[in-house]
């Protein structure tokens, strides 16, 4: 190889420095927020004069924060189910189907990934106002499902493409109906793809804020929307506490996902 790491000589230290700088740049804001959430200062002074659990106490005592967290979980769970089910059906059509315009359809399914989120949010808001879905749970779920769907399609089509259809045929010749063969053999065989699709779908809904701001009503808010709203009213360490919990839950989810993948891969 022309450009080999071992032959870089002194440049190697430069590369290390850049890498570390980038990592710090990405991590420090999150770490600061976490530190501030435990700081005793009302004004988010850094370094904190003393450490306290107070803001977490206030967070859990406030029904508005709890309602927002509950909404986030509900929306996330429903989006996960819708996006995986629809993604699975779409993937079967895209991978197994032989109809004209298949590639165009796939491109269409992936457009929410590339469309500017604000444009999408405004358009959807206008539509939902007209049909009365604005500010409803169903509206939230539909909006986030549209955003999560392309990721589900990508994960599941990838899994389905690497799955040899002969295996499903073998199950059918063994006496399983085409539906049973898919249920007992194909789905378990592509479970890693389904799992990735579910994880992506949940996370996309869990931390999505732009579309959620348009969908939200004073009584129905997700956690990111609540954080955004609270930030505009007053700057309190409770927001830092809420943000930290959001980050920690995401980290836990990623860790569990890594573990599950390891177990599946065996």
């Amino acid at each position: 190889m022309l450009l080999s790491y071992d032959r870089l000589g002194g440049l190697r230290f430069g590369l290390w420095a850049i890498t570390i700088a980038i990592c710090l740049f990405l991590l420090l804001p999150v770490l600061f927020i976490a530190a501030l959430s435990f700081g005793s200062s009302q004004w988010l002074v850094f370094p904190p004069p003393a450490w306290t659990w107070r803001w977490y106490g206030e967070l859990f005592a406030d029904p508005r924060w709890l309602a927002a967290a509950w909404t986030s979980l509900k929306v996330g769970a429903l989006v996960t189910i819708c996006s995986v089910v629809l993604g699975l059906l779409a993937s079967f059509a895209l991978v197994r189907g032989k109809f004209p315009g298949r590639l165009w359809l796939k491109a269409l399914f992936l457009t929410p990934m590339v469309l500017p989120v604000v444009v999408f949010a405004v358009a959807l808001y206008a539509l939902f106002l007209r049909i009365g879905l604005s500010g409803t749970l169903i509206g939230f779920v539909i909006a986030h499902t549209i955003l999560a769907f392309p990721f589900a399609v990508i994960s599941i089509t990838n899994a389905l493409e690497t799955f040899d259809k002969s295996i499903e045929d073998a199950a059918i010749l063994c006496g399983a109906s085409p539906w049973l063969a898919k249920w007992k053999v194909t789905l378990p065989a592509i479970r890693l793809g389904l799992f990735s699709a579910a994880l992506f779908s949940f996370l996309i809904s869990w931390d999505e804020v732009v579309v959620a701001i348009f969908m939200a009503s004073p009584t129905l808010q997700t956690l990111p929307v609540r954080i955004w709203g609270a930030l505009r009213q007053d700057l309190t360490p409770v927001i830092a506490a809420a943000s930290t919990i959001l980050v920690v839950l995401t980290l836990i989810l990623m860790a569990v996902a890594g573990l599950v993948r390891k177990v599946f891969a065996k």
């Binding site: 040899d164 199950a171 010749l173 063994c174 399983a176 063969a181 007992k184």
Partner: protein, 355 residues
């Protein structure tokens, strides 16, 4: 044949404007091991998949025991199949793979446990119940696939080039296993391969496919000694095809005059020369013998000698410049002084004229 068990009659399959199978009819008695042999794209796999039920015939009928199976969907045909690729269910251990067809059929737990044990011992993989497919070698996977396909005692077993992904030594080992299992179970087997050696080794009868038709059906010996068409003669075993200048036909025998004027009498003659418009004389390399002295036989020059252990192959050139092969026992070839003009001859009954 009166005792036909699996019957394929007038089977034809087209994909759009492409004709995959022109017209195939076969009568297969119960318990027979029949191999579809042919080059890729000859229609052998398409015919097999139609029996399995994955492709509906464009025309014709397929019946088992006198009843057409065309209206029966594949999962109700009760047919076993081993595929070319590895098709074990990746998330299930070996025991559960074999149990799958039994569970689908609602067998009792005790019955399933007994059958799985019996099947594993049939394919000589006792104690492998709890392994996952990924932990098995290719040969072991295909043996488990065979056990799974036989677990529900199907009347017909289809095998679509099941050994083509394995290396030669392993392939021969499993061929012996397949023969033994066929003898032990008495199941009717349709086997697809493009490997003539495998076909000869395994089959009771071989159907040679070419361009969507069956060129000939017969035992390996039939096909080798009495090929009906030029294609079969060229596909089974090694062969020389000599140019022929003139043919005089008398019923099923003929006389041929070779380009250098050599006249050969009493050759079995066949009409099936699909390949070329000009008649050709087929003679096996091992049928050729050097003639001591001169005058008789076909005049040749030696171009090359290849030592192959038990035998030697000699590349010869005829008077009109065509290259042909002679094969003989290593010592028999060596004792000849392989220089200058020589003559070869053969028993005309062992050669075939395709015109």
């Amino acid at each position: 044949m009166t005792d036909s068990f699996l019957t394929i009659s007038g089977f034809r399959k087209t994909f759009g404007s492409i004709v995959a199978v022109e017209d195939v009819s076969l009568n297969i008695p119960k318990g027979e091991f029949l191999t579809f042999l042919g080059p890729s794209g000859s229609g052998k796999s398409t015919t097999l998949y139609a029996v399995a039920g994955f492709d509906d015939p464009s025309a014709g009928d397929i019946s088992i025991d006198g009843r057409s199976i065309l209206a029966t969907p594949p999962h109700k045909r009760n047919i076993g199949m081993v595929f070319q690729r590895y098709t074990l269910f990746p998330h299930l251990p070996v025991g559960e793979n074999i149990a799958f067809p039994l569970r689908v059929r609602g067998h009792s737990a005790a019955d399933i446990a007994k059958t799985v044990k019996a099947m594993l011992s049939l394919v000589r993989l006792e104690g492998f119940e709890d392994r996952l497919p990924a932990q098995l070698s290719g040969g072991q996977q295909q043996r488990v696939a065979l056990a799974r396909a036989l677990a529900y005692d199907p009347p017909v077993l289809l095998m679509d080039e099941p050994l083509s992904a394995l290396d030669k030594k392993l392939r021969e080992e499993i061929q012996v296993e397949i023969r033994r299992i066929h003898q032990e179970t008495g199941v009717t087997i349709l086997y697809v391969t493009h490997d003539q050696e495998e076909a000869l080794r395994l089959s009771d009868r071989i159907a040679v496919f070419n361009h969507g038709r069956i060129e000939q059906v017969g035992s390996g010996e039939d096909l080798y000694a009495r090929p009906a068409t030029r294609f079969v003669a060229g596909f089974i075993g090694d062969s020389n095809f000599l140019k022929v200048r003139e043919v005089e036909r008398r019923g099923s025998a003929a006389s041929a005059i070779l380009p250098d004027g050599t006249r050969i009498e009493n050759i079995p003659a066949h009409a099936g020369n699909g390949h070329a418009a000009t008649p050709e004389l087929m003679v096996r390399p091992q049928s050729l013998k050097f003639v001591q002295g001169s005058g008789a036989g076909l005049a040749v020059k030696v171009k090359d000698v290849t030592f192959l252990g038990d035998t030697s192959s000699v590349l010869l050139e005829t008077g009109w410049g065509q290259e042909i092969w002679l094969r003989g026992a290593g010592s028999a070839v060596k004792t000849n002084a392989l220089s200058g003009p020589l003559h070869v001859e053969w028993n005309p009954a062992d050669s075939h004229l395709f015109c």
